[in-house]
């Protein structure tokens, strides 16, 4: 029997909540996430467990990690793996959430938003320039800029979708806060 399998992620900016629910369902069936994989997770076979998962985003120095993981561990959240500033945690079903209020939840989303918006705001003008270039030029320059534009646009579209998804997530937390009055 297979001892390892792959689960695809819906993209953390789009469906963090759904991913975590899916991981929980897998654990109930005896498949436990062990590490991040390319656009997804690697799961290992074990005994069924009733656990919940959480993801935090916080790029940090190695010297800061001891305190950070200790805080999570002492409240019942065991670290599973970390990559590119994302940290995946696991806890018993009734453990309190890692974010207890909206202000700090919004700050987490802002931390994720920053690098995405930085790259997007760099790539969009580049694509526009390339677009103008291949429309106005001819011959060799037209061919090159047309290819470059195709490449750029295939990066820009997912980037814009990710930016929008993050902005939407932030809006959702803000709305929930207003409604909780």
């Amino acid at each position: 029997m297979r001892q390892e399998k792959y689960m695809m992620s819906g993209g953390l900016a789009f469906s963090e909540e759904k991913d975590l629910q899916k991981l929980r369902k897998q654990s109930l069936k005896g498949w436990h996430v062990k590490r991040f994989a390319f656009m997804g997770y690697k799961l290992e076979r074990g005994k069924p467990e009733d656990v919940i998962y959480s993801i935090d985003f916080r790029p940090m120095e190695e010297s800061e990690q001891g305190e950070y993981f200790e805080l999570f561990a002492s409240t019942g959240w065991a670290r599973i793996c970390s990559e590119h500033g994302f940290h995946l945690f696991k806890a018993d079903k009734d453990t309190q959430p890692i974010y207890s209020e909206s202000e700090t939840t919004i700050e987490k989303i802002s931390r994720m938003e920053k690098p995405v918006l930085a790259i997007t705001s760099m790539m969009v003008p580049i694509s526009i320039v390339l677009c103008i270039l291949f429309n106005l030029s001819n011959g060799m320059i037209e061919t090159i800029s047309r290819w470059a534009f195709t490449g750029a646009i295939s990066i820009v579209i997912p980037l814009i979708m990710t930016s929008l998804a993050i902005v939407y997530q932030k809006w959702k937390v803000r709305k929930k806060r207003t409604l909780s009055l």
Binding site: S54, D56, R58, S63, G66, E67, Y68, F69, E70, L71, F72, S74, T75, W77, Q96, P97, I98, Y99, S100, E101, E103, T104, T105, E107, K108
Partner: protein
Amino acid sequence: MKSFEQLTDSVFYIMAALTEPRHGYAVMSLIEETTKGDFIIGPASLYTILKKLLEQEFIILYDDSDTRRKVYVLTEKGRSVLQRDIERRKVMILLAEKGLEKGEIG
């Protein structure tokens, strides 16, 4: 990052706990015990707020001999910010208390 104009309840509780030197988990436990479990701060929220308080110089690192349990304490600046927020909260409570006393229906 936004600085603190009015302290949120979480920030207020954490600063109140750091009037004496404490490490993160001791801060969480104290708040949970004092409020009998009504107010619980998650580890990610606590960590975010500690970092912000350090940045604003409302707290300082008091003892980092145990790197997994760093101890923090309020600075003079932090103490006066907390004092100001106590005054703000007192006004709110006084208004509500007075209102309830006077405004009994029936």
